[in-house]
Amino acid sequence: MADLCRIRIGSLPLVAVLMSLPLFGQAVGEFIPDTGLDLSGTWNPLLHEDFPERIPGPELVNYSGLPITDGSRRWGESWNASRLTMPEHQCQVHVSPYIYRGPLQLRVWTERDPQSQKIIAIKNYISTYEQTRTIWMDGRPHPPAWAAHTWMGFSTGKWEGNILTVYTTHIKQGWVRRDGLPESDQATLVEHFIRHGDHLTHVSMLTDPVYLTEPLVKSQDFLLNINAAGNWLYPCEEVEEVAGRPRGAVPNYLPGQNPFLTEYANMFHLPLIAALGGAETMYPEFRKTIGNPPPVPKDPLALAEVSPRAEKNKSQNPNPTDGEVHILPVQGNIYMLVGAGGNITVQAGDMGVLIVDTGLAQTADKVIAAIHTLSKDKPLQYIINTHVHPDHTGGNEKLRAAGVTITGANVAGDIADATKGAAIIAQQAVQDRMSAPSGNQAAAPADAWPTDTFLGDRKTLFFNDEPVEILHEKAAHTDGDSIVFFRHSDVISAGDIFVTTGYPFIDLARGGSIQGELDALNNLLDLAISKHDEEGGTYIIPGHGRLCDRWELIEYRDMVTIIRDRIQAMIKKGMTLDQVKAARPTMDYDARYGAEEGFGTTGQFVEAVYKSLGGK
């Protein structure tokens, strides 16, 4: 606590001044005036600020001086350092709000328009994790809410006097402190870079509506280094550190089972409430309020666990709010359409168009219009349904009618309805649930049913110079889920197995199960390969929410696994469904994924997991 209080108190007057400065008044597209100040050069960090936290690193359950939420504390208490031995976690980059505390070098340079010499961007290369960061100075807008996030985020800057002020959004989930305290993907960052001769001060203000109750302010300093040699690389290659770990296992401590809860407090003779952090521990008044705290128990398991309570969802809506269907280029031949209910994937090329899912019925015309802007008058030939739900199949009828099935020679004569439109591909279970035996009322009109079904676990196409794999996931979100892998573009359309807007909807009535959901998430992980340190490479279009890469999938799989583990342990203890719900097994994730009302509430998710695991 002492370390953190020192920083906070020392920084406050400066922070108060800096936070009062106006931010980002420029119009979009307007170049930022060039003040002539130059931050270019090689900068070496001065490590004296919070040295022990930097090297060798923070102790477990040392949350002092951090304005964390109860949900964040629960997240940290369930975090097991063994999680970092998992290959997919070994190269987790420190996000932009955290990385400047790293010990390696910083290079700053300016990119100018060759004609006008106006500054387009100020670039940072941070050798810790080999991260290149772009601070746009040309007035461009931030990407939409449904765009992908990166470790460094999307940054725009402006000069305020001699201070470079930077605003960053679209940051991946990362650390607030690397002893298990999370920073959510909803966090935003305001920074000030202040140069005094050969000295550079960097002040950052992190706002995280999910895991912080108030902004976290930090500062760090750098010294100009005129010798730009040294190590600029930080390669990281994931390996199998722990042999024999079961596939999909995610090390975590069940609530109340973390054996290290009191270690830090005991080591430094601190009151436990100080070690557990919270906004109050940032301020000097905290010392007075704790009075004579009770002694820290020697047995951490004798402690009452964090009191379970509801946390409201604080995350941003990742969908368009203008009622329109928007197109987001992904990579290769692939585009993502958002605003039509479930996300729609479009693959467009010389042979025509293939889409994955069709959205809601009422948005079908807008989807067709969006596809026309991408198709270059080539026909829509294939529709693939990832599952049966109407926010993904509602547009089947209209979209099918807007396309064609191309057949040749005398084959057309053999297929009576070949002229009726595009082919609709799905696993047989989807057709089973949309259709009905002759004479019975079907769930959907016949023209909306899949026309080309498969019974097995895999169907393939080769379309627009690209192999396309359709892989059935048994009993996951439903019993008819498919994921679609575009192997050349390196994009996966995940359907509702993976969403960024909430917990997975385990549709027990339509054959879903928690184990099938986890198997599917792990299968998705096996298909995805990152370009560099769990960023880029394979992109994943979720059923709902923003564009993702492998990292988001990892964190989501971890979350679902941990919640499964907790509910399984509660069932083993004989807890009823009501008792399990009251224990809030999702508490640390509710501010990001929870819902108290509407479709797909937290309670429904917990109930589905409970029942799927055999709870009575």
Binding site: P56, A81, Q92, E237, E241, P251
Partner: protein
């Protein structure tokens, strides 16, 4: 011939991507003796995997975290220094999750044999 002198790491500090304090019991040591089955000479940290018995005599595969390739290179350790099948004695800090059988390397020694020279290293992995 004893080829490698005992080395002590005093080279520049290497930044751990994770917190050592959170990962290992830094105030405890454990010694394992067994057969090296894999040597991963890499960044951000090297690993040796060793088949050796635990304190109950049950054979385990231990993951021993070592320095970055750069740090070890400065200490004279190369990709050729150790081979699968080498008999090694390792002392280090035990991991906080016992079932992982992890150790943070403090020292490693391969005694001289008819076919292998003595090798030893000790230092601080940061």
């Amino acid at each position: 011939m004893a080829a490698s002198a005992s080395l002590f790491s005093t080279a520049g500090i290497v930044y751990a991507h994770h917190s050592f304090a959170a990962t290992y019991f830094e105030d405890q040591t454990v010694t394992i003796e067994g057969k090296l089955v894999q040597f991963l000479y890499r960044n951000p940290h090297s690993f040796v995997h060793v088949e050796a018995p635990d304190d109950k005599g049950v054979m385990q595969t231990w993951a021993v975290e070592w320095g970055a390739g750069g740090q070890l290179g400065r200490d004279g350790v190369t990709r050729e220094s150790l081979k699968p099948g080498d008999h090694v004695i390792i002392t280090g800090n035990p991991g906080r999750t016992p079932e992982d059988h992890r150790v943070r390397m403090r020292s490693i020694r391969r005694p001289v044999t008819d076919t292998a020279a003595e090798f030893s290293w000790k230092g601080v992995v940061q």
